[in-house]
Amino acid sequence: MSVQAIFVAIIILGAFVYAAVVFARKTRSFSKKSNCGADCGCESKTKS
């Protein structure tokens, strides 16, 4: 396996791990909990 392939494998694995973590967080947000809910990147809302 070339060095490039190793780097690519690490990056792809990292992406899957991150996706799994985010998915787990969102799944936890399916039930009410004490603190802030899921972060979809839209947590800030414009209020006048």
């Binding site: 070339s2 490039q4 392939a5 780097f7 690519v8 990056i11 792809i12 992406a15 899957f16 991150y18 996706a19 985010v22 969102k26 799944t27 947000s29 399916f30 039930s31 009410k32 004490s34 603190n35 802030c36 809910g37 899921a38 979809c40 990147g41 839209c42 947590e43 800030s44 809302k45 414009t46 209020k47 006048s48």
Partner: protein, 669 residues
Amino acid sequence: MDTTSAKPGIKHHLTIALAGNPNAGKTTLFNSLTGLKQKVANYPGVTVERKQGAWQLNGSAATLIDLPGLYSLDATSMDEQIARDVITGKISGVEKPDAIIAVVDATNLERNLYLVTQLFEFGVPVVVALTMIDAFEKQKHEIDITKFSELLGVPVVAVNAKSGRGRDELSKKIHTVIARQPKIPYELNGASENGGPHGKIFARYNFISNVVQESVKHNDRHEHKVSEKIDRVLTHKIFGLVILIGVLLFVFQTIFSWASLPMDLLDQGFGAIGDFVRSEMPPGILTDLIVDGIIAGVGGVLVFLPQILLLFLFISLLEDTGYMARAAFLMDKLMSRVGLHGKAFLPLMSSFACAIPGIMATRTIENRRDRFATILIAPFMSCSARLPVYTLMIAAFFVGQTVFGFISMAAVLMLSMYALGMLVAVAVAFILKRTILKAPPPPFIMELPPYRVPNFRTVFQNMLTRAWLFVKRAGTVILTISIILWALMYFPRSGQLPVASGQATAASEVETRPVGSVSTTEVQTESEQLKHSFAGKLGHAIEPVIKPLGFDWKVGVALIASFAAREVLVSTLSIIYNVGKDENEQSQTLISAIKDAKTDDGAPAWTPLKALTLMVFFVLAMQCMSTLAIVRRETNSWRWPIFMTAYMTGLAYVAALLTYQGGTLLGFQ
């Protein structure tokens, strides 16, 4: 009511709560006092938003809590209950406030002071911050603040969040009131014992009336207020709607024309970065990932940043000037006819930015069925994540065309997509309110704030906040999905075919060919690789379902991926169409790639009709995991998110089918 609580000891870190009516200028004052040092979260166990920030109070740090906008503390809604609990220190993790700043709109004293009279009863020191004082003075009214303060029994400070007037005095008064015991005005003390069940209410209004009469001078000059004059036109049942449509057309037209140059520059920039990386790095799988996966995927979405900036600039301007409330008033007539609660408008308007805060904003709707109906239709409001998809399709096939000779087709189509979402939302609400969510329409009083010159600092702050969220999302969610999608489209690799572009060709050909360009053989090879990849197989599996909509398997892959986040469709198409590069061309823009793309049988992959079909699908489809998550939380049930996904997907499919098949039958392409 106990008014003789012990004086607090010396505290180094104070907690101050900000309370006031909606539209009194509370949030503007909060932003002015805390700057960007704010945190947004939820109160424990409920879904009411908690906003707090750091405030430098005479050299020492304090926490400022922005309570929800309230007209009273009668605890008929969750917002009011939470506010009461915060003030009484019943929320775990939230310090009981050492003082309350009651924000009072000087142009609406009687209404705003009702809440203040209720705040007195909690035994927490109160300072009144009098806002809109410039508008009050422009109306040629006069207020004797010293007398006003004396009659109320609490310090009163005139503030102007824009200019910073009164900020220092506010800080000093906070310390003054904390140092002494708060007391309830005599007129309010024991009122309920004297006047029956409504005695307290009458006592409050009597008190307010006396205070205002003694300290405020309303001039007798009869002048038509500018706001009322403007409202005669802007809220007219015919002209108002025409003007609203005109304003929206102007906004969309401007977004397209102003954003076009920066978008082109960004597009070229990302293309140049990709070419540079490919020329400097040795050919191989890592280069392919970086150029064809990351740069193509993330860059494909980031090019829309100018449009996002402009969209939120206009939304903020319309909100800050007070026009958005007029738009709400015009829409309210339509909404009430289908049984929608008047309070539904604000959540629906918020959903144009993102459905998540819009759905959370439905907490202000007391009736459960009204609230659920609003939640179920909120995703039809075209959110900012759909904007890159609309823009891409419109830019590829409809730019340069006009309607009636002067209105840009791009703006008309954009407006049509937003209008389609709203019309379908209204139709669905009509059905829901007469079937599974039947409830009588409640009465609703809407407040129209006076028109005002927008606070450009607030406007730009909002615009930059939204832009940062867009960029952050591109750098996290979109980046991750781009990498995963690239991997799914890249693997498995067949050993009999060239592994990566540039590797399998003869050395002499590599030397003479421009950097980044590929041969016809390599294009065919890469297309075959894509077809047999994991993503390709998935796309082919769902192709029979989407073929009647005019979509091929590549679009199928993009539609599946966009379930995670709508704008991922753009990233996916960027990756798909960059994998199969055209002969003798360097990296194409996505728009030209879409125009040139062919299906497996050589027909154009995209036509204006197919682009329109995709947009129609996107208006109506439920394609956001985060929205589903929030619906599950807000409804506390799996039934509603499943129902929402099913009915929205079905509706999107049928609408897209009618668009494509109907358009084909009519001879459109």
